[in-house]
């Protein structure tokens, strides 16, 4: 069912993939639940000095406010912006609602986050016989059942569907047909490509690669030489080929928690005390997920934003706060803290007891 060949040319069975993305999700939920916020620039996130914007309403975006932007910066851009504390329980509830809608159409739903998901509707369970009509219906139902709007992109692979959902926002619906794919990709700025972040994009710009058309002009071998294994992936994307299947139940690979301190830490005792709090958070999350793991990673970010990690792997899985704290402190002892100020500490447990592709769990030897 998954992984059909999906190139533009000579494809046996074309898949039908929808990417659904909620519009300004956190901010829209806040505006829905609080009428005073409607029509106003709203940012969800911490307003304190070190806070970060988690989501911005469209009104705020007009001022240039973006997610992941420091709150202080957002204030400067838009002084009358209203900061709202995130309510993750409310977002999760909506996320469950929309996922339930998706699953009525296909079991092949791959959630990317609370507000985004891929759907493979090549063989839908119900619904009209066209992916576009299904996408329309899903948008309609999200609107009716949650009062929120979503944008959808439809195409024959994940890459194109995702880019398409971003073309018209909010409340958009964009279809990229197989015969339009190459032209669509040609005009696409490289930073919109899957897997191309700021660093790679900068590197490409310096080479004169600004759009899909530019990228297509480069031979695959050259791209591999420049960008490693990803080069091959880019070369395929630019030909409209992306065979990644829509995989339901994305596996959680690690469980962690971290804390950015309002004042940098100088004393080892302070750090140890903070690690205990973080260990408590991690232990609680592990408990909630009914998980345990054998690798513990400590993350330390210094005042100069230099970040280091230290990890250790054990024979037996761990999950308790005391153990996490003790081992976290051991890892911290291996870090050179001489004349350094610590801005952030984090602990992550990985190497979890994970099931294989069939869901079969293994004995944790």
């Amino acid at each position: 069912m998954n992984g059909n060949k999906s190139g533009v040319n000579g494809a046996a069975t074309l898949r039908k993939i929808i990417h659904v993305d909620m519009d300004a999700f956190f901010a829209s939920v806040e505006q829905r639940d609080n009428p005073h916020l409607r029509g106003k620039p709203v940012a969800v996130g911490g307003s304190r000095e070190r806070g970060v914007v988690a989501a911005a309403s469209y009104e705020a975006r007009k001022f240039g406010v973006r997610s992941a932007m420091p709150s202080s910066h957002a204030y400067r851009l838009c002084p009358h912006i209203i900061f709202v504390k995130p309510r993750f329980d409310a977002y999760k509830a909506v996320s469950r609602q929309i996922r339930k809608i998706f699953l009525e159409y296909t079991p092949l739903v791959e959630p990317l986050s609370l507000d985004e998901a891929y759907l493979d509707v090549t063989q839908p369970i119900i619904g009209p016989p066209s992916a576009t009509l299904i996408a329309k219906e899903i948008k309609q139902r999200i609107r009716e059942e949650t009062g929120l709007t979503a944008s959808a992109g439809i195409s024959y692979n994940k890459f194109l569907a995702k880019v398409a959902s971003d073309v018209q926002k909010p409340n958009g619906l964009t279809l990229v047909k197989p015969d339009e794919a190459l032209a669509f990709i040609s005009q696409l700025p490289v930073e919109k490509f899957y897997g191309i972040g700021k660093v790679t994009a900068d590197k490409m710009h310096s080479l004169g690669i600004k759009t899909g058309a530019d990228l297509r002009g480069w031979p695959e071998a050259k791209l591999v030489q420049l960008f490693g294994k990803s080069g091959r992936f880019y070369a395929r994307l630019v030909q409209g080929i992306d065979e990644r299947p829509v995989t339901p139940d994305r596996q959680r690979k690690s469980v962690g928690a971290e804390n950015t301190f309002s004042q940098n830490l100088l004393q080892l005792e302070e750090m140890q005390a903070e690690l205990d709090v973080i260990a408590g958070d991690v232990a609680e999350r592990l408990h909630r997920l009914n998980q345990q793991g054998r690798t513990l990673t400590l993350k330390v970010k210094f005042s100069d934003f230099v970040q280091i990690t230290r990890s250790l792997t054990l024979h037996q899985p761990i999950k308790e706060q005391e153990e996490l704290h003790r081992l976290g402190c051991e890892l911290l002892e291996g870090v050179d803290l001489e004349e350094k100020e610590v801005r952030l500490l984090g602990l992550t447990v990985s190497n979890l007891d994970l099931p294989d592709a069939n869901g079969q769990l293994s004995i944790p030897f």
């Binding site: 339930k100 009914n290 099931p355 069939n358 869901g359 079969q360 769990l361 004995i363 030897f365």
Partner: protein, 374 residues
């Protein structure tokens, strides 16, 4: 060199050891049996370098001598001869073998016996005697769970722990684990060895029935099994067996007791409707009722049955690979079995309710995560 032997008696001995011979051995001479004649005794060896089997029988012979005889041709010839004395005449210069029977003469070419790899000898062995049926039981109860994963060699054999009060046989494939303990087998010195799967498979087919004593001897690198006139030598797996005691849960307080045959038959029916790759079945225990169900979304197949059980603990829903459960239940012979669970992602334990006072069987099985769509 010449010797005379009964065709069926020889065939019987060869059949007992021929399982060692592989169809495409590393060294071509291993496609042969090694015949060694000494003072009227014929000793036959078959080997694949890892495992060797030896049998001895009396024959009529005046001289001594050795020869390697092609196993396939010899076995096929003997199988098709009516019972009668056959004469083997061997030319030790050309390695030609001539077999004469009442029916006629058969000529085949053998190989130089000195090219046949030497079988390891017992040096400073350490031994224990076990009745054949006990060993047979221990093998039958564990062998099915041995791993085929060459990347984890320790798990490709059965781990045997000899203690002064008991002997424990352990097998695991990483998804399930069987611990079979006997309190009527004991050794005066603690020892741990891993016997490869192939050797145990061969033992299973050649071990005599009943309480015939089997002597197990071993040193650091090899194990020797002796019973009747047969000897088996196998190289031990020189790896550290996983720390299995630590993964056996002790707090599986959710306990269900159910009739083994009822559960087994139900699982066999439900498994027909399960997904063909995952073989996933869902067990839902509510009060004293066990609901077993499975579905295969690809074919829109689904099935569900309800069984009554004795249940002590909270309601639980847990997924398992039906094939694992079926195989495990098949290997038990208790009327009732007990399934001890804790959480849907934690190991389950299957334990027979009634058992031989000398044996203690514990089967551990890891669940399959149920794909609960939000």
């Amino acid at each position: 060199m010449k010797f005379i032997v009964s065709s069926s008696a020889l065939l019987k001995q060869l059949s007992a050891i021929s399982g060692v011979i592989t169809s495409n051995p590393v060294v071509p001479i291993l496609e042969n049996f090694l015949f060694e004649i000494n003072d009227g005794a014929l000793k036959v060896t078959a080997s694949d370098l890892q495992t060797s089997m030896i049998t001895e029988m009396d024959v009529e012979a005046r001289e001594s001598g050795n020869i390697a005889v092609p196993a396939r041709i010899l076995m096929d010839t003997l199988k098709n001869l009516p019972e009668q004395p056959v004469t083997f005449s061997i030319d030790e210069e050309t390695y030609t073998i001539e077999i004469s029977s009442d029916n006629g003469r058969y000529k085949l070419s053998g190989e130089n016996a000195t090219d046949f790899p030497r079988t390891p000898e017992v040096n400073d062995p350490y031994g224990v005697d076990v009745p054949a049926d006990t060993l047979q039981n221990a093998i039958a109860n564990t062998l099915f769970a041995v791993s085929n994963d060459e990347l984890r060699p320790a798990m490709t054999g059965v781990y045997i722990q000899l203690r002064d009060t008991n002997a424990t046989f352990v097998a695991t494939d990483g998804h399930r684990l069987i611990r079979y303990r006997r309190v009527d087998v004991a050794a005066d010195m603690d020892n741990n060895i891993i016997i490869p799967k192939k050797a145990l498979n061969l033992l299973r087919t050649t071990l005599p029935s009943g309480a015939t004593p089997v002597t197990i001897e071993f040193n650091a690198s090899n194990a020797f099994f002796k019973f009747n006139n047969i000897k088996m030598i196998c190289r031990l797996i020189d790896e550290r067996f996983p720390d299995y005691e630590n993964v056996i849960p002790v707090d599986n307080n959710n306990k269900m007791v159910i009739n083994r045959m009822e559960l087994l038959s139900s699982l066999k029916r439900i498994a027909i409707y399960a997904n063909k790759t995952t073989h996933q079945v869902r067990l839902k225990i509510t009060g004293n009722q066990l609901q077993i169900s499975a579905e295969d979304l690809d074919f829109s197949n689904e099935a569900m049955e309800r069984l009554s059980c004795d249940h002590d603990g909270e309601d639980i829903e847990i997924g398992f690979n039906a094939r694992f459960l079926i195989e495990m239940l098949n290997n038990l012979d208790s009327t009732d079995v007990q399934l001890n669970l804790s959480k849907p992602n934690r190991a389950g334990l299957l334990i027979p309710r009634d058992k031989d006072e000398n044996e203690d069987i514990l089967m551990l099985v890891m669940p399959v995560m149920l794909n609960n769509y939000v």
